[in-house]
Symmetry: C2
Subunit: 166 residues, 2 copies
């Protein structure tokens, strides 16, 4: 294992640490579509989306997978997995802005060996291959890799029913 | 898009439907370790783990990523992402045992374009590169691809503190 310490790596902050990535990948991912949001750069994105608030976002699913949406509209919440394709993958210690150094697996930062984000969003509508939701906070154009119903708290759904009128 | 209907694909059930997979992958995944559980085959696995109950399971992290665990022990719950490497990836309609046909994205079945499972587990201990948890339900040897703290209900943590004595 080769370790780069304290700023010797490109774009690394003091206190951060990178490792040499493995020689090859162990498995492959298909992008199944992309996410449309109001935010065009990472800097524009809100710090954290809220499941029941925030602007409408749209999941555009590749037509190949259209039938896989059958029955999704019956759920109130969906877990959305997406690929944070702009993030480096080799940091093991990170220094968040205004924070102390922490291990990558103790953070939800996009910077991680496999840059997979998981968010639970409120499902608004399913029309053709477009799925409208509230509660995401990623850059528009972000590759989508999975969606699944979130039915229980362990899957990210709220423990109690949403308030009336929501 | 090529579609195989009603049992024309290998191992497909009546009512299920497969599609031709894309020619290549869009991104690559590193296995960062593996999961040790009491279950040696998929058939042995419980239908669904419970976050605060069930046997101890151990995440064995590759030494390359050891420092990425720094600070993880301060959390009570972790979101675990793992790769369901025995599942086929080409079904868009599935017929669960004893159920009606449903779209892949309306199910949490391992069979999906990207066989990524997400579970929230109770964190028991972090010792070296071993992370002990309760609440997983996968086969032993399952490849691990990510872990992150689960702090809020939207991330899968319980909305209320666990009962006294747990």
């Amino acid at each position: 294992m080769s370790v780069v310490e304290n700023g010797a790596g490109a774009g690394i902050r003091a206190g951060e640490r990178s490792v040499t990535l493995p020689d090859g990948f162990d498995a492959g991912v298909y992008f199944i579509g992309h996410i449309e949001t109001p935010w065009t750069t990472r800097a524009d994105c809100p710090r954290r989306g809220d499941m029941t608030d925030g602007p409408l976002c749209t999941l555009r699913i590749d037509p190949r997978w259209a039938q896989a949406l059958t029955g999704l509209s019956g759920f109130r919440h969906v877990q959305v997995l997406y690929w944070m394709d702009e993030a480096r993958r080799d940091l093991v210690l990170q220094v968040p802005r205004g924070g102390a150094a922490a291990g990558t697996f103790a953070l939800r930062s996009p910077v991680r060996p496999n840059p997979i984000a998981s968010s639970v969003a409120a499902l608004v509508a399913v029309e053709g291959t477009s799925v409208t939701v509230r509660g995401l906070d990623c850059r528009t154009g972000t590759p989508l890799i999975d969606l699944k119903p979130a039915r229980t708290p362990a899957e990210g759904a709220p423990a109690s029913p949403p308030e009336a009128g929501s």
